[in-house]
Symmetry: C2
Subunit: 403 residues, 2 copies
């Protein structure tokens, strides 16, 4: 049978995630991988979860194992409401939707807002999962460059102006304002305010993705775009994957009521509801006050790991290699000298020297950024970070010698 | 802010699920609900799950709480492979994709195969979640009537011929061959073979949804369409929701490799992966051989409940009311005399008498079937079934007296 002619346009255009394919290359135990954006598994609260699961099953097993509402477990939503309130977000539970991972949040936002050909403004570089979602709904994209403080507002104003000149109104601007994936950069307050002004001036929405936001280990908190917004222009996405564990696939979206209402309808046809079982466990975990100390411990660990990586970079990297200094999150972004290609380097120099990363091109919707790459410091051990950066520096030097 | 103009076409067209809205009406404890398709919570293996979760956390906590592959936990897929093999389905793990509920299976099949305007052939009546998915991808539909043995093949041949006359090739035929939702009917072997012949003659695919298949409590097993197919025309969807519990949202799709490959890509942008935690628990549950006795116990319970419902129907219903005699599953379908409207009856006669069901119109993509309704016998207790059917008969008689 020939299936090719039967596929939809999105399926025909779909490709496997570059990151997931790279992860397969790095499964040899001798490879030190800075590739996947994986949290450190030593932080997973394994024993505590055993107790909490027992409690949930004995006290509310029948509901925890039954279908739940599409909006999500009301006990969990009420805990999320309190959790985000302590971060300055004031939203009633009716505006909070539990999603099956933040990726589903991106999928639902895309499904609710995007028809084929609609325009989305993204960061250069941007989170790969976001780009995949927007592509899957056949959106068009334009990119706005970042500097060390995230998306450049002068360039955004230019892009929005250029689009207006073509009578194109973008559906939304997609940003990761805190410890961006992949760049590790954070937008300061001035940029956040300017971004909201520009969204108002050009009458568009903002999708604010904040998976790493609570993992700040240096510098000062900046308010979320959602909390600064007075016009209902912001959809905020967040997740427990980096604060608790990814294996529960629990995340949430906060949005104006009209948007949440449509997201709920679209979630009904996507997966009916997020598992009641994991939601009940997560709710109990939060009710017991376990999440805050857990997040504190993760931050301390990532602070140490990021410092190790930064010091190793300073010690080992050639002078003309640049990198970001993240104040939180999981990632550090590396810019190699012009003319170097991080994909060639990965295949011919890094993997053979047992070190891996994600090529920066994967994060550029337009395929730019050949001389960039992303390093994750959350997953490898401190010793692996030290050794892996050494290997990476050797790979860079050897590649350059062959150029 | 006006959001209306910003929504995508699917979001603009989306409506809340009729069933989920009805469920809200039936939350008063005095209402006996035959509405939701909920499994009986007494069958949930609460205590066993406590032990199994402890074992999984202590033996493999770090992987069970981490991200997993999009295809699904390989231990679980290997258990599913063995499970379906005992039902005559021969498929390698590479053709098995774990999904976040069967609804996600429907969503992914739709995403992979349907562009706006594409044609899908559905049963009249058909599973509501399927219709929602197809609508969400802006598919067109034609319906084929059922009789007491499921979809009528003469009518299907007519429909396919009529479509060919308009140069329309449907993307697939969607069927629930075993104990259909909502009708409770089962296709016999002859119809199954004929369905495959027609799919070949008109060169289309079949999506075979089998969530209730293993819950046969009377009559003889019929082979799946997937196992009868020799041309790679069938996508089989199934789920643990009715065999184990819905609160895990674990299901699977089996399809030709080219289709599975595209479903995996689309799942990456939908939710990255199904929770590793619930998959690891389910795999352990199956490895311990717990699923078969669990399914046996569920079948015995549903056999008893369906018999109670059928006897109560015989005892209490007016002579000109008809209903199906299911050999398995969760549902029984009721046809009221022409001229009666099950929605009017629900609102004015049934709910006030503290009994609820789902109106049949919700299952007809074209809004037909006003005189039909669906009853679930899995969720209410035996006593509730007896009492609820009495109330329903009173509602029917009172409604008729007022006509």
């Amino acid at each position: 049978m020939d299936y090719g002619s039967r596929f939809s346009i999105p399926a025909t255009n779909a490709t496997r995630s570059v990151i997931r394919e790279i992860l397969k290359l790095t499964q040899r135990p001798e490879v030190i991988s800075f590739a996947g954006g994986l949290p450190a598994p030593d932080t997973f609260p394994v024993e505590l979860l055993d107790d909490i699961t027992s409690k949930v099953l004995s006290e509310r097993g029948r509901t925890a194992l039954q279908y739940g509402t599409t909006e999500g477990d009301v006990r969990l939503r009420s805990q999320i409401k309190q959790w985000v309130a302590s971060d300055g977000i004031d939203a009633p539970v009716e505006q909070i939707l539990v999603t099956s991972g933040s990726q589903q949040g991106l999928d639902l936002v895309s499904r609710v807002l995007l028809d084929p050909g609609d325009m989305v403004v993204v960061e250069l570089p941007s989170y790969l999962g976001g780009l995949q979602s927007f592509r899957s709904y056949q959106a068009e994209m334009v990119g706005v460059e970042q500097d060390h403080d995230g998306m450049r507002m002068d360039r955004l104003a230019d892009q929005l102006g250029a689009l207006r000149g073509q009578s194109i109104q973008p559906k939304f601007i997609y940003v990761v304002p805190d410890f961006q994936n992949p760049s590790g950069t954070t937008m300061d307050l001035g940029r956040r305010k300017r971004l909201l002004e520009l969204a108002a001036e050009f009458d568009t929405l903002i999708v604010e993705d904040t998976p790493y936001r609570q993992l700040r280990f240096a510098g000062e908190d900046q308010p979320t775009l959602f909390s600064l917004d007075t016009e209902g222009r912001v959809v905020n996405l967040s997740t427990f994957s980096k604060l608790f564990c990814p294996g529960f696939r629990l995340a949430w979206a906060i949005a104006p009521p009209a948007i949440i209402e449509k997201m709920v309808m679209c979630k009904q046809s996507s997966d009916l509801c997020t598992p009641a079982f994991t939601q009940a466990i997560m709710a109990e975990y939060m009710i017991q006050g376990r999440l805050a100390p857990q997040v504190h411990a993760i931050k301390e660990l990532y602070r140490r790991k990021s410092r190790t990586m930064l010091r190793a970079m300073e010690r080992h990297m050639p002078k003309d290699v640049e990198w970001t200094k993240p104040e939180g999150g999981l990632f550090l972004w590396v810019i190699l000298p012009e003319g170097m290609d991080s994909l060639v380097m990965l295949e011919k120099y890094a993997i053979p020297r047992d070190v891996a990363y994600v090529i920066g091109q994967a994060f550029h919707f337009d395929g730019s950024g050949p001389n960039t790459l992303r390093l994750t410091f959350s997953f490898p051990t401190v010793d692996q970070i030290e050794e892996g950066i050494k290997r990476l520096a050797v790979a860079i030097r050897d590649y350059r010698a062959d150029l």
